[in-house]
Amino acid sequence: MSAVIDSHHDDHHHGPAKGISRWLYTTNHKDIGSMYLWFSLIMLFIGGAMAMVIRAELFEPGSQIVSPEFYNQMVTNHGLIMVFGVIMPAFVGFANWMIPMQIGAPDMALPRLNNLSFWILPVAFGILLSTFFMEGGAPNFGWTFYAPLSTEYAPPTVTFFIFSVHIMGASSIMGSINVITTILNMRAPGMTLMKMPLFVWSWFITAYLLIAVMPVLAGAVTMMLMDIHAGTSFFKAGGGGDPVLFQHIFWFFGHPEVYIMILPAFGIVSHIIETFSRKPIFGYSSMVYAIASIALLSFVVWAHHMFTVGMPIAGELFFMYSTMLIAIPTGVKVFNWLSTMFKGSLTFETPMLFAIAFVALFTIGGLSGIMLAIAPADFQYHDTYFVVAHFHYVLVPGALFSLLAGAYYWIPKWTGKMYDETLGKVHFWMSFLSVNLTFFPMHFVGLAGMPRRIPDYAMQFADWNMMVSVGAFLFGISQLLFLFIVLKCIYNGKEATNEVWEGAKNKGFEWTVDSPAPYHTFSSPPSLESLKTSS
């Protein structure tokens, strides 16, 4: 008996369109989320290749393989790509996939805008990368593009750089308006703000930060554009302006930007730790307040990036203390994660391994951050490899590890297939060992005085640098393994169950739907009752 049960077709249960038009015209949050994730993975390998060039050049002292001019272009574009092209889009990809599912919404609030937010990103990065083939070469003034390096002394391609930053900013602002509107307006009935999953909370605040500071970045690059092409004197002392003004505006954007790249990571890691500890998260509301305090404080700490620029002493003190204050909410989060694991029945699947490594290694980055916050000490550390070590610890074993952890955690839900657990663990251990080999010795050479952003260095730093380079090459290879694991999972993975993880029971709407999640998840909002614990 095979009677046709349902021949009725409702618009809301269409599958995806076929071929390339599915991706070009899509309004589906899952399609767009996947595009964001693939885009950032591709950019990870492009930006990573630039890091490999940098480490190959620094393998030994002396000029090795690239010219100093090209080295500067590598350093600049490595930073720009990793910040704007990898970490940020990857988190937006997670937001697209997970937020509607976690709050029980049918899709993002503004689906067409969502598609536009994604598709202008390849435009921006296509233009940025094309500057390598233009006269004068790619931008070479560092990812912080300080004036006057980026104005009076910049290559002509800086104009393309400025407009591509505008486009990246527009993408982030539109994406964030979408996220924040979705969260405010599309939650399932009964899901009050303080019942939202922590990943949703972290993105709520991240989106607010993005809408607040990306326009300031747009203002900064617009001032550059005017100084270069219209004869204005924002950053020219001869006309009464000040190059230091650029640094203030840039870091007013830049410091909240740092938290934009880590707050969603906090959300992801919180979910993973509670799942694999088989306990609810410890201190949910303090987690929320901690994220909010970090976000608010991030607006009043920017000048700690410029202690050596010549500020009045009152400014140095203010920014030193306000920066140190951030350690308190961050500490609350770290201890909450530890308390969640405390007396939990832990298992160590790949997502959990990455999440635990995140907690440990992000804390190292946080502690070196406190060292850097101490204004008098920063006069010694400023612009050395110690700073490079610090921010790579928070961005690589911090943000990037959380992304990898989240990818392993949710990929069964995305694809309906399990990844290869053994290979996942190999990937973790290779990444964990090589990331420390890469970035830990940078603390030593930095404290010993090795300056950042130079293609050559004094002989006494040779041994550590060689180790760092070996670590970097290993880390690069390890991420190729990740690509292989993802492809193997998609094409050859075992079927995943709906709940996927034993500990995921009652831990969110996403685990109540099929694996893979249906193309349209909730045409009518789910009930919070379905998540009540059975105990």
Binding site: D11, H12, H14, S21, L24, Y25, T27, N28, P106, D107, A109, L110, P111, R112, N115, L116, W119, I120, V123, A124, G126, I127, T159, F160, S164, H166, I167, I173, I177, N178, I180, T181, N185, M186, I211, A212, V213, P215, V216, G219, A220, M223, L225, M226, H229, G231, T232, S233, F234, A237, G238, G239, G240, G241, D242, V244, L245, H248, I249, G310
Partner: protein, 299 residues
Amino acid sequence: MSDSSYYVPESSKLPIFMAFGLLLFVLGASFTMNNWGEEGSNAHWLLIASFAVIWGVMFFWFGSVINENDSGLYSGQLNQSFVWGMAWFIFSEVMFFFAFFLALGYVRLFAVPWLGGEGEKAITNILWPGFEAAWPLLVTPDNEQFPGAHHSMAIPEISKLHTWLPFWNTLCLITSSGTIALAEAGLRKGNRTAFKLWMVATLTLGYIFVFLQGLEYYEAYSHMGLTLGAGIYGTTFFLLTGFHGFHVCLGAIILTIMTIRGFGGAFSHHDHFGLAAGSWYWHFVDVVWIFLVLVVYIF
């Protein structure tokens, strides 16, 4: 809240065309600026083409939103998404202006006084000995490269206030915020005549503002030596008033379209979000102007 489900468009060609328009815009704008003044450069055609694509896509995009709304696809919840979306968009615009106000504040409070020797251990005064800090800054430190203006735009004595364009500008803009509120109120009460009348009044005031602003720029360039290259005073003056004026123009375009639609019979007393959003935008440019008059012209 309506009980119909949340409308998710199945797919749309609009965003990818908009992305293409932005690609043309970036290429066109960058090549035009980099090749400025060069013989035979035709990059500006790329820029013009990009405007055609962008405005064209916007026409069809808003058109399809209006059609979907008219055919009853939008629930109350979806309309609420538009409300949040517009509110956060305006917040992002506020922050864009904040960057320029921040620049003005930093220059006036720190950079210029330090160049003049003020401040404990300030050393920038050794760059141009003899430079005297003042605001409005009419003599720049390097007055050959950045020849300062002869006059500033600062507020004159009270008896000459009527000769001062920003006075009339302020009057226009603040009044127009009132008239658009009256237009909305008329629409809500179902009085379409009042609605149309006050919309036309708002637009008239808006266009007068744009005209006066243009006149002021003409005066600045032709009689006062106040240019973009006149040092930091001209820089901040033109960038702040310029971006504000640009936003007034955008607001005026939005309201013109809303007025035309209104005359064509669009909007009802309970369903007129396009007009409401335009009106919020208009209030936003008004508030920015008040801050601008205070810190750019008066204090």
